[in-house]
C-alpha cells in the first residue's frame, strides 16, 4: 500500500482528527489509536446506533472513522502514562492530536518534549483556532467554525437567519487537510532530516475552503460590500426545481441557455427579447417569467432522474437532490463499488462508505474494522514495547489503561 512504511500514533477523538488518521490508515499507514480508558473516544457515544440503542462498540460514526486502526487505552492524566507515550513516540514517524492546545503541554508532552524523545517526529496538531492567537483556547463545533470562518453569513435566505452546512462538513474537511499536511511534513522531513510541528486550525480551514468564501472575500475587497443572502436562481435558466418525485439543482443559464431551451423543446424562446440578451437574462422579472413560468412546469412533468438524464443529454450541468435511500439504491454508485461490507465483532456486518478515491497500484483496503476499546493493548504494550503480561494486567487498577 502507498503509505505502508509510515507509523502513526493517533491521539485524536471526535471527527476531524480521526478522519485525518483514517485517510492515512486506509491507504496503508500503521496507525495506533490511543483512547481514554473510561469510555474512549467521545464519538463512540454519538450515533447512529443500530435500533437507536447506545453502545460504545456500535456507533456508526466511530466505526466509519476508525477503520484500519489498532486501538489501545491509556489514561494520559496519570503521571506514569507520560513515559509510555514517550516510548510510543520513539516508534513512530507522526503523532496526530486534536486536544485543546494547552492540554499536551499541561501533562509535560509539548511538541518540544516529544521532539526530544524523537527528533524526526512530526506532530500534527488539529485544533479549533490554532496553537497561537487570542482565540486559541476557545471552544467550537462544526457550526461555529463555519459561522466564523466559512461563507455562512451569505448562505440561506434574505430576511432569515444564515444557514449552516449539513452534518459536520468542516470537521471532515479539516481531517482531509490534516492528512495532506501530514504528507507535506513527511516530504519536508525527507528533505531536511528533521520533523516539525504542524499547526492546523479548523477556523482557518473553513476560511480557506474552496466554497464561496475565498472568491467572495476577493470580490468584497473590490466592491467594499459583502455578499447578501439571496434566493437561489440568480439568472434565467438556473435554480433548484421541483420534479415529480424530488428536486434537481440545474444550471442551464448564461452560455447554456440555448441548450436549456432545446431541452424543453420551445425554440421560440431563443428569440424572445426577455431571454435572448445577456443583460435581459439577469432581470428579476425575466428570471421569474422563465424559471417559474416555463421551466418549472417542464420539470414537474418529469422524475428527477429523467429530468437529469435529459439535461445531461444537452450537456447542462445539473444534479438531483438525493436522500440516503436514493443514493444507496442508485445503480451507478453501486455498480462502481463505492460501498464496502465490513465485519465488526460487536456491530456485525454493515455496509459503509468505501474508498474516497481509487489508486490503481496501491488500492484502498480494509485490513481491520474499527478497534474495540483497548483491543490491541496486549499487542502494543507487550509485543511492541516489551511490557510483561503482569505489568499490563496491573494497569487497569491504576487507571492506566
Amino acid at each position: 500500500m502507498a503509505l505502508e512504511d509510515i507509523n502513526v500514533l493517533d491521539l485524536t477523538h471526535g471527527i476531524a482528527g480521526p478522519y485525518c488518521t483514517k485517510m492515512l490508515a486506509d491507504y496503508g499507514a500503521n496507525v495506533i489509536k490511543l483512547e481514554r480508558p473510561d469510555g474512549g473516544d467521545f464519538s463512540r457515544k454519538l450515533g447512529p446506533f443500530p435500533d437507536d440503542v447506545p453502545d460504545i462498540e456500535k456507533s456508526g460514526l466511530f466505526l466509519l472513522l476508525n477503520t484500519n486502526k489498532r486501538g489501545i487505552t491509556l489514561n494520559l492524566k496519570n503521571s506514569a502514562a507520560r513515559n509510555m507515550v514517550l516510548e510510543l513516540v520513539k516508534e513512530v514517524d507522526v503523532v496526530v492530536e486534536n486536544f485543546s492546545p494547552s492540554f499536551l503541554p499541561s501533562i509535560d508532552l509539548s511538541y518540544q518534549e516529544l521532539a526530544n524523545a524523537n527528533p524526526k517526529l512530526i506532530l500534527v496538531s488539529i485544533s479549533n483556532f490554532g496553537q497561537t492567537g487570542p482565540y486559541r483556547d476557545y471552544k467550537a463545533d462544526d457550526m461555529i467554525a463555519y459561522a466564523m470562518g466559512g461563507a455562512m453569513h451569505s448562505k440561506g435566505l434574505p430576511g432569515r437567519e444564515p444557514m449552516k452546512y449539513g452534518t459536520h462538513v468542516i470537521l471532515y474537511q479539516s481531517g482531509i487537510v490534516g492528512a495532506l499536511a501530514t504528507m507535506t511534513a513527511l516530504f519536508a522531513r525527507e528533505k531536511n532530516g528533521y520533523g516539525e510541528h504542524v499547526d492546523l486550525s479548523i477556523f482557518e480551514t473553513a476560511a480557506h475552503s474552496r466554497d464561496a468564501r475565498s472568491p467572495d472575500v476577493i470580490a468584497a475587497q473590490f466592491i467594499n460590500a459583502v455578499k447578501p443572502r439571496r434566493t437561489p436562481g440568480s439568472t434565467v435558466g438556473t435554480g433548484t426545481f421541483p420534479c415529480r418525485d424530488g428536486y434537481i439543482v440545474f444550471s442551464g443559464g448564461g452560455a447554456r441557455l440555448p441548450q436549456t431551451i432545446a431541452m424543453i423543446g420551445q425554440p421560440e424562446m431563443l428569440t424572445d427579447p426577455r431571454f435572448s440578451t445577456r443583460s435581459a437574462q439577469l432581470d428579476p422579472e425575466n428570471i421569474i417569467a422563465f424559471n417559474h413560468g416555463i421551466l418549472m412546469p417542464w420539470f414537474m412533468q418529469h422524475t428527477m432522474r429523467d429530468a437529469w438524464a435529459k439535461a445531461q443529454e444537452h450537456h447542462i450541468i445539473s444534479g438531483p437532490i438525493f436522500n440516503s435511500h436514493d443514493l444507496l439504491s442508485d445503480g451507478h454508485f453501486r455498480g462502481r463499488g463505492v460501498w464496502e461490507n465490513i465485519e465488526h465483532p460487536a456491530a456485525g456486518t454493515l455496509e459503509y462508505p468505501g474508498r474516497p478515491f481509487i489508486m490503481e497500484k496501491t488500492p484502498w483496503q480494509i485490513r481491520r474494522p474499527a478497534p474495540l476499546l483497548g483491543q490491541h493493548n496486549h499487542e502494543i504494550y507487550c509485543d511492541m514495547l516489551g511490557y510483561s503480561l503482569a505489568d499490563v494486567a496491573n494497569m487497569p487498577s491504576q487507571s492506566m489503561i
Partner: protein
C-alpha cells in the same frame, strides 16, 4: 527555487473551475511547480469567466444585481477580462500559465514533451473531453511511464453517469448534502447553494497525489488515480448514510440544530444583519450560560433541565435566547460566552473576517500583487509548519504569462519555432477574436 517541502515536484494541469485548481493551489503553495495548460481557441465557461467578451453593459447589470460571478475589479472587465475574473483570481494562485491548442496534433505533441519532464498530470474534465483530445492514461505513460496521473470527473471514468456534467453544487445534491441542510420549514427548491464537495475533492486530490509520489519515490512506480467529486464526498455524509444502513431511516434537515446539543443555533444580535452562533454542549455549560444571561429562573426551568429536555423544547428555548442576544453585538456574546467556556462565535462576513483580530495576529490573510487586479488579501496556505515558514509568492497568472519559460527553458524551443507557434495560435496572451 524555494526551500519548501514540495520544491522539485512538477505538476501539469488541465483543470477547470474549482476542485482541480484547488488541489494544485495546495501543492503550489507548498512549493510544487504547477504549469496550467490553457487554450486561446476556446473558453470553458466558468474558469476564467463565462465569456471572453464582456460588455460594460453586462458588468453594470451585474453591479445592480450583485451577480458575483460577473464581478470585476472597479466594475471594469478591461480588454482582457479573463485575467480579471474574480473566481479565477481568487483560486488560481501559485501556478504558471502556458497556452497550447490541444486540438491539433502538434499541440498534443507539445503536451507529450512537457509530460516527459513532469511528476504529475492532473485533470478534472468530463471523461469524453479527454477522449476526444486523444488523451488517456496509456497515452500519458507512453510519454512518461512513471508519472502520477490523477483524473477527477464528477462521477467516474465508468458507469452510466460517467460523462454527466456537474459542478460542486450539483454533486452536493447527488450525494445527499442538500437533503440534510437548509430550513426545515422551507421547500428544498431554496437549497442548492453550497459547493462543499469541491473543497473536499481538492484536499483529497492533493493528499492522493502526495501519497502516490511517496510510493513512487520508494518503488519507482507511478500510477493512475481516479478521484470522483461525488465518491470522495460520500464518507463526509457518514452519519446519514450509517443511520440509513443501520435503521433504514432517511435523515432530513434539522437546520442549524444538532442531534446532541441544545441550544444550538444562530441568533440575531444588535445591529444590521448581525448574528451569533451558540452551541451548548452540556448541562454544566447550560447553567453557565444562564448565569451569563443573569436569568436564575431559566436555570431552574424544568423544560430545560437537561439535554433531552432542551432538545425537546428547543422552539421555546430559542425564542428566549433571541430576546437576550439582540441586546448585544455578536462579538460581545462571543467573548462573554467563550471566557466562561461556552462555545459561541460571531458570523463574520466577507469583510469582517479580513479584520478579525485572531486572523490578523496569526497572519492568515496575506497580500499579493497582481498586474491586472492590484494588491489584494488572499487566504494563506492551509496550515503552518514550525520550521518551514511559508509566504504566498505568486498571484493567479495572466493567460499565457509563462509561455516563454515553458516553451524555451523547459522544452527548448528556438525563437523561430516560438514565433511560428504564436502565428499558429498556440502561444499568446489574448483569446482568439472569434471566441465569444
Amino acid at each position: 527555487m524555494s526551500n519548501l517541502p514540495l520544491d522539485g515536484i512538477r505538476i501539469v494541469e488541465l483543470t477547470q473551475i474549482a476542485a482541480g485548481p484547488y488541489a494544485t493551489q495546495y501543492l503550489g503553495d507548498w512549493g510544487a511547480e504547477v504549469i496550467r495548460l490553457e487554450n486561446l481557441q476556446t473558453m470553458q465557461p466558468g474558469t476564467r469567466g463565462q465569456y471572453a467578451k464582456v460588455s460594460q453593459d453586462l458588468v453594470d447589470q451585474a453591479r445592480a444585481t450583485l451577480a458575483q460571478g460577473f464581478i470585476f475589479p472597479n466594475w471594469e472587465a478591461g480588454p482582457r477580462p479573463w485575467n480579471r475574473f474574480t473566481q479565477f483570481t481568487a483560486t488560481a494562485r501559485s501556478r504558471l500559465s502556458m497556452t497550447v491548442n490541444l486540438r491539433t496534433p502538434e499541440g498534443l505533441d507539445i503536451l507529450g514533451k512537457l509530460l516527459e519532464t513532469a511528476d504529475v498530470f492532473i485533470e478534472n474534465n468530463v471523461p469524453e473531453t479527454l477522449a476526444k483530445l486523444g488523451i488517456s492514461y496509456e497515452w500519458v505513460t507512453q510519454n512518461n511511464p512513471n508519472i502520477v496521473m490523477i483524473r477527477m470527473p464528477a462521477f467516474g471514468l465508468t458507469g452510466p453517469y460517467s460523462n454527466y456534467r456537474c459542478l460542486g453544487l450539483h454533486v452536493d445534491g447527488t450525494v445527499g448534502h442538500h437533503h440534510i441542510k437548509g430550513y426545515p420549514d422551507v421547500d428544498p427548491s431554496m437549497r442548492g447553494d453550497t459547493v462543499a464537495a469541491d473543497a473536499a475533492a481538492g484536499g483529497s486530490a492533493a493528499f492522493a497525489i502526495l501519497s502516490a509520489i511517496w510510493y513512487r519515490n520508494r518503488t519507482g512506480k507511478g500510477q493512475m488515480i481516479e478521484l470522483c467529486l461525488s465518491e470522495n464526498f460520500i464518507p463526509v455524509m457518514a452519519e446519514p448514510i450509517m443511520d440509513y444502513n443501520m435503521n433504514q431511516r432517511i435523515r432530513g434537515t434539522i437546520g442549524n440544530r444538532d442531534y446532541y446539543m441544545a441550544p444550538h443555533g444562530v441568533y440575531p444580535c444588535n445591529g444590521q444583519d448581525n448574528w451569533v452562533a451558540i452551541a451548548v454542549g452540556s448541562d454544566k455549560e447550560w447553567q453557565t450560560f444562564c448565569k451569563i444571561m443573569d436569568n436564575a429562573d431559566l436555570a431552574e426551568d424544568e423544560r430545560f433541565r437537561d439535554t433531552i429536555s432542551r432538545l425537546k423544547n428547543q422552539d421555546e428555548l430559542d425564542e428566549i435566547i433571541k430576546l437576550w442576544t439582540v441586546h448585544f453585538t455578536p462579538n460581545q456574546v462571543f467573548i462573554m460566552l467563550q471566557t466562561e467556556g461556552v462555545a459561541a462565535g460571531p458570523l463574520l462576513d466577507d469583510l469582517e473576517i479580513l479584520k478579525d483580530k485572531h486572523m490578523v495576529e496569526r497572519g492568515f490573510y496575506q497580500e499579493l500583487p497582481h498586474e491586472e487586479v492590484g494588491t489584494l488579501k488572499y487566504h494563506g496556505p492551509g496550515w503552518s509548519m514550525s520550521k518551514t515558514p511559508n509566504k504566498l509568492r505568486i498571484a493567479a497568472p495572466l493567460l499565457g504569462e509563462h509561455n516563454e519559460y515553458v516553451y524555451k527553458e523547459i522544452l527548448g524551443f528556438t525563437d523561430e519555432e516560438y514565433k511560428r507557434l504564436e502565428d499558429e495560435g498556440h502561444i499568446g496572451m489574448d483569446m482568439m477574436p472569434n471566441v465569444p
